[in-house]
Amino acid sequence: MIVFDGVEKRFGDNVVLSDLDFTVAPGEHVTLIGPSGSGKTTILRLLMCLESVTEGTIRVAGRYLSHMEKGGRLVPADEKHSREVRKRIGMVFQQFNLFPNMTVRGNLIEAPTRVLGLSKDEANARAEELLEMVGLRERIDEHPSRLSGGQQQRVAIARALAMQPRVLLLDEVTSALDPELVAGVLALLKRIGETTDITILCVTHEMGFARDFSDRVMMFDGGQVIEDAAPAQLFAAPEHPRTKEFLKAVLERP
Amino acid sequence: MFENLPLIISRLAAGIPQTVIATVGGIVLTIVLASVAGLALLSRSRLVRTVSRTYVEVFRGTSEVVQLFWIFFVLPALVGYQIIPLAAGVLVLGLNHGAYGAEIVRGAVQSVPKAQYEGSLALSLSPRDRMLRVILPQALVEMLPPFNNLFIQLLKSTALLSLVVVNEVVRQGQLLVPNLGVGETLTIYLVELLIFLVLALMITAVMRALERRASARLGRTPAPRARRAAVGGVA
């Protein structure tokens, strides 16, 4: 589903990702863990075309994301191409990023009507269904500012799902929430993982969630994947010294 | 369109001295009035504050053109003798921009953190020393960018003096226009714009240099220049 091939990402002199190769199969749930600055969020941002690769290629569902084929050669993708390929990738952000000038309903139907070409009725029906699933159906005509952080994040998740993505990117989606709201959001994500076959890439510090939710955990450090295994194995018996160090520090948090 | 360029430039340049005199005179008067009125706005005396506030609101709230004509027509009759147009012009420039300047001064002094004021109280500095040695040097750095904008406004306002027969650049242009064809008219105005642009850049250069020196005195480097603050509009 997702293929990173020799990807390097530099910001000026700062090499954030180097020679990165990995694959994610359709329907897989992969969690990326590692210290800050290790490049995990950059991977999500590359998939979302919020950044572009310095070297290497990214393919999603068989199509090049970062580049496009022009006259038999690969050239860096233009905005139109990126937007095309990106249509089936959804992202949920740490800061929710709901549009404050629209109601919850507005937030949910904006992209499906403008991008996927759904009629207002279809988009509204889908919005209501999704809000039902996240448990916020009654708040549909309110403005985001009236909702708690956890509620806003659930709306953000619904908004991403409204586009019927084949890939869902979750960027530390519970890090900005009050601790008591975190569980609700994680439970929702688990339900989504179980009831859909969306490929999910998740960056998180919630190790418990990572263990329950993922098929695979990738440990990042210094812009490289240093360990890649099923959660049962990685958490119980990490091989790489840096992984051991990291898990020790993180799991000992009060 | 460019045949008479040397003539145009020399004629317009003949107006530059008056423009410069008006600008410099206006700036000096502005600084004086802004300082006095600005500090007066912060006075403990209600009367002083009210007088200053009235001055500021009247001169900010009425049009500069009105003020110009008022001083030009009314003042000589009131005072009894003729006033040179240039002097009337400088007076209006100073009074008008001094009112805006007073608000800048007030704002800058008020923006100095209260802790500075309290620290100098703790050191038993006299009110005079407190102002001169502690508050004003810090306020000064805050004031320089808005005053830069204000002085450029003043420079632009000197063009209005052409309406009361002061022989500055714009008036020179207006005298020249009837003698040349329409194509040249465009050139005349473009050259005028360029002259003002150059003068404006010179003002900015001086103000930036002052900003650097004032900041250095405080041991700071001046903040990177945000594109001239538009919010709040000192126009």
Binding site: A111 | S63, W70, S162, T185, V231, G233
Partner: protein, 219 residues
């Protein structure tokens, strides 16, 4: 010239002055609309970094902001007839005002646009919204309300600069005041009444803008 204050005279000239003031207000209203619209266009061009237009707009705004409105008004009024477009004083004046103040309002809009959090742009991107929707649906609705007080201040400033358009033949309140003075040789009442009229409009207007600032929460 006779100096003194005659209340009867002062009141007698009020209707004529009011006629002139209406023109002043009209010029302000039209000029402001132009400045709001054009300034927004400039700001969006600059923030979208359109390749050729961006530096042109930037250069123009710098030049136009730093030079006198009076010269610009003369230019527009006197030069356009050369290319066959004859404009009335009001039209030329409104264009001059609008163009000049667009240079100020574009900076105001830019500040407002910059104040919209990056996350909003990213979320809109993540939803693959087309560019015009990002601007119209997400960014501008958040940017513009915040800058309304600053725009309001510029309207007031413009109002006070309208009188200089008498130089290109606009008959507004100061023109009328000067005409009356020329007839009666009494300058004090016309000019003072004109000044008072300005104050009566601009002072309450600034108070309103300050109140608007507090409601909107200045950037």
């Amino acid at each position: 010239m006779t100096v003194g204050w005659d209340w009867a005279y002062a009141i007698e000239i009020l209707p004529a002055l009011w006629q002139g003031l209406q023109v002043t207000l009209l010029a302000t209203a039209l000029g402001s609309l132009l400045a709001f619209a054009l300034g927004l266009v400039f700001a969006v061009i600059r923030r979208s970094r359109v390749p050729v237009l961006d530096p042109i707009v930037r250069g123009f705004v710098e030049l136009w902001r730093s030079t006198p409105l009076l010269v610009q008004a003369y230019l527009i009024y006197a030069v356009l007839p050369g290319v066959g477009i004859t404009l009335s004083s009001l039209t030329a004046g409104v264009i001059a005002l609008g163009l000049h103040y667009a240079c100020y309002t574009s900076e105001v809009y830019r500040a407002g646009i910059d104040a919209v959090p990056r996350g909003q742009w990213e979320a809109a991107s993540a939803l693959s919204l087309p560019r015009h929707r990002v601007w119209l649906g997400v960014v501008l609705p958040q940017a513009v309300p915040r800058v309304l007080p600053a725009l309001g201040n510029y309207v007031i400033s413009m109002f006070k600069e309208v009188p200089l358009l008498l130089a290109i033949g606009l008959v507004e309140v100061i023109t009328v005041a000067n005409q009356i003075t020329a007839q009666t040789f009494r300058p004090v009442e016309p000019l003072t009444m004109a000044g008072i009229l300005f104050l009566l409009i601009s002072y309450p207007a600034s108070v309103l803008v300050r109140r608007l600032e507090r409601r909107v929460g200045v950037i």
